[in-house]
């Protein structure tokens, strides 16, 4: 029933507006409407309605104190429904986790306001041991500085999927942490396209001068960069960007999206090794064969599959494609060579 959904949504929005309005006292109608994503007419209608709400006998002194003029709306401290409300466990967790996550990014709370807000929250909600640990790769600062100041970087980068190292000059665009690692989306001059780099695989980084204005103006990676994201507008990260847009982009991009060039591989494993496959977002369990679990994974480079098979153990077997069946044995032999050559 749509009317029920509508009433709940409108009630939630009314709470949000009153709660915010009481902090500022009075605000222009246009500003409030924009902030809460309403037309000015809809805002005025809801607030005029709310101004008629109260308790019996519904005389003016028993109604919500909301004043709507031609240009502004205002309310008064102490008005019922405008006081902060208790948070559900999920909401308390969301705030505590978000604040702690940003605090663990060096340089993200330079004026200390976030720490102060968090300690006020803890004082009221009760301090709960929530910790957020993020990587701090060696060149995170260099990448962040370059991306915030529009500079290029020359990096030495190890591509794990193909086990190759290369030197590239990149224009960092946006930096994010996902699945436990920091990534940077950047324009890569070597590839002539947008690429995603894992920051802890950068083994050297030196400034390479200002970025081209054209590249910067192109903004963040669009749909083509990520193998099929919906890319809701390419300038989400600009100064006036909308946080919702940024978050949508992150969901769409994920840390690894199997590209068109990736190969589907079926692997039979022991039950005791399936936990490792569970941690790979694109891996999926299939029907068991011969009493053993079978999984499919998408492989972007041989080295990635070598790592996976070696970690799964000798009992893991590639079912198909056939040319991957000896991959683990070949990789193990290559590693073994390093041990044997050191001994002779």
């Amino acid at each position: 029933m749509s009317s029920r959904v509508d009433t709940a949504t409108r009630l939630r929005r009314l709470f949000a507006i009153l709660g915010w309005l009481v902090q500022v006292g009075e605000a222009p109608i246009d500003e409030v409407a924009a902030r809460f994503n309403l037309t000015p007419a809809a805002l005025v209608a809801d607030l005029e309605m709310a101004a008629c709400c109260g308790v019996p006998p519904y005389t003016p002194d028993e109604l919500l104190e909301i004043v709507v003029t031609d240009e502004t709306v205002s309310t008064r401290v102490g008005t019922t429904l405008s006081r902060p409300r208790r948070l559900s466990p999920g909401e308390g967790l969301a705030l505590a986790a978000s604040a702690r996550a940003l605090l663990s990014v060096p340089g993200s709370d330079e004026n200390g306001a976030l720490s102060r807000a968090l300690s006020k929250l803890d004082a009221v909600l009760g301090q709960v041991a929530v910790a957020v640990e993020l990587d701090s790769p060696e060149f995170l600062d260099e990448v962040r500085t370059a991306s915030s100041s529009g500079q290029r970087l020359t990096i030495t980068y190890y591509t794990a999927t193909t086990d190759t190292t290369s030197e590239r000059t990149i224009t960092p665009m946006s930096l994010f942490a996902s699945e436990g690692h920091w990534y940077v989306d950047a324009w890569c001059e070597t590839a002539g396209s947008l690429r995603r780099f894992r920051v802890d695989r950068i083994s050297a980084a030196t400034p390479a001068g200002p970025a081209s204005p054209d590249i910067l103006a192109a903004g963040h990676p669009g749909p083509d960069a990520a193998g099929g994201s919906s890319g809701s507008g390419g300038v989400d990260g600009d100064a006036n960007g909308d946080a919702n847009g940024d978050q949508a982009r992150l969901i769409a991009l994920g840390a690894y999206v199997p590209g068109p060039e990736s190969r589907r591989v079926r692997i039979a494993v022991d039950e005791s090794a399936t936990w490792l496959l569970e941690s790979i977002p694109s891996a999926k369990p299939l029907e068991p064969e011969g009493g053993r679990p079978v999984w499919e994974v998408f492989v972007g480079g041989d080295a990635w599959l070598e790592r996976l098979l070696l970690r799964l153990g000798p009992a893991a077997v590639v079912i198909d494609p056939a040319d991957y069946r000896s991959l683990a044995a070949d990789a193990a032999a290559r590693i073994l060579e390093r041990y044997q050559s050191a001994e002779t």
Binding site: L14, A16, I17, G19, Q23, A34, R35, F36, D46, A50, C53, L64, R83, R85, R86, P89, G90, E91, G92, L93, L95, A97, S98, A99, L102, S108, A113, L114, A117, K120, V128, A129, V130, A131, V132, E133, D135, R144, S148, D163, F176, A177, S178, S203, G237, N240, A243, D246, E278, S279, L310, R311, P314, A315, V317, A329, A331, I335, Y339, A342
Partner: protein
């Protein structure tokens, strides 16, 4: 009389219940809140629907037995509804908004929390390059808020973990390496344990408030600090591993600079780590392919060489 806006009726209902000094029966509420239909059936349906909306919006509306013909009374405990004022200044409000905008949890819970605190709506993004942090995980967050609340209320919890029922005094929750974990005292195993929250099979059932109990020497930080190769009960071994330049940055990021005992001009490092579970260490070293080499002690190096030999017969069962 024109039909009342349903938002007006439900707002009045909320205000009347917040204002009441005692539980009110439905009949008393109908007398105080305008807009319910005349017929008894229709007005009851409308009332039940409004109550459900309020509950779904987190309003602590409860029904209780009252004296008299009506028997059931409805009330909202204002203590449970309002939060003491946080007195956040403008900078602190902006910082919290930035944190919620910059951290992705997979659902809008953070934004709803801000609205409840009176700092909702769209905020101008202050910094052009706010890094985004993704804290969500596939499978949803259903167990996590329950564990969070259990830590806060010091309640023991029971849940099924990979098919086995566990009874745990949860001490804290932590995000690490892309996953959420709970650390606590496992009553059945009488030891500290870490649980990956997305591997909990059901919604944890909390016990009574204050029912959690920890041994005096229990240290959640120590339990969290253990790496996979430190979970065995074997004697701790010091293991030195050479890592090529291409993987040095990743290893140092993971283990910390203090683990480096040697650094060569080409960027390669030798790291030293303390290990109680050698098979777990070997699995970790495999991830570096031929860019890493266990140098010493000889027995760990020999175990690695033996393991590598096992792959020469594909599919060998061990």
């Amino acid at each position: 009389m024109a039909k009342l806006d349903p938002l007006e009726r439900i707002t009045d209902l909320l205000l009347v219940l917040l204002d009441a000094k005692r539980p009110l029966s439905r009949r008393e509420i109908m007398l105080r809140v305008p807009g319910y239909p005349e017929s008894d059936d229709a007005s009851r349906q409308g009332f039940v629907r409004d109550c459900n909306i309020l509950k779904s919006e987190g309003v602590p509306l409860v029904s209780s037995r009252i004296a008299g013909d009506d028997q059931v009374g409805y009330s909202i405990d204002a203590e449970k509804y309002y939060l003491p004022d946080l007195a956040l200044d403008a900078d602190e409000q902006a910082a919290l908004n930035l944190a919620v905008a910059g951290v992705h949890l997979g659902d809008p819970t953070g934004k709803e929390a801000l609205s409840k605190l009176g700092i909702g709506g769209q905020w101008p993004v202050r910094s052009a390059v706010q890094p985004l942090v993704d804290l969500s995980f596939s499978g949803g967050l259903v167990a996590l808020p329950v564990l969070f609340e259990a830590v806060r209320s010091k309640a023991v919890v029971t849940f099924t973990y990979r098919g086995v029922i566990r009874t745990v005094d949860v001490a804290g929750i932590r995000f690490r390496g892309g996953h959420w974990y709970a650390v606590g005292w496992d009553r059945d195993r009488t030891d500290a344990r870490i649980f990956r929250v997305d591997r909990i099979d059901d919604i944890p059932q909390p016990g009574d408030v204050g029912s959690a109990a920890f041994p005096d020497d229990f240290d959640p930080d120590e339990a969290f600090a253990r790496s996979p190769w430190n979970f065995g009960t074997g004697q701790a071994l010091e293991v030195d591993i050479a890592v090529d330049a291409v993987e040095a940055s990743r290893v140092v990021t993971e283990l910390g600079a203090e683990s480096v005992i040697e650094r060569t001009d080409d960027g390669a490092v030798v790291i030293r780590m303390s290990v109680t579970d050698v098979p777990a260490l070997i699995s970790w070293v495999m991830d570096f392919l031929d860019h890493a080499e266990i140098l010493r002690p000889p027995e760990v190096r020999a175990a690695m060489v033996e393991r590598l030999g096992d792959y020469s017969t594909p599919g060998a069962q061990r």
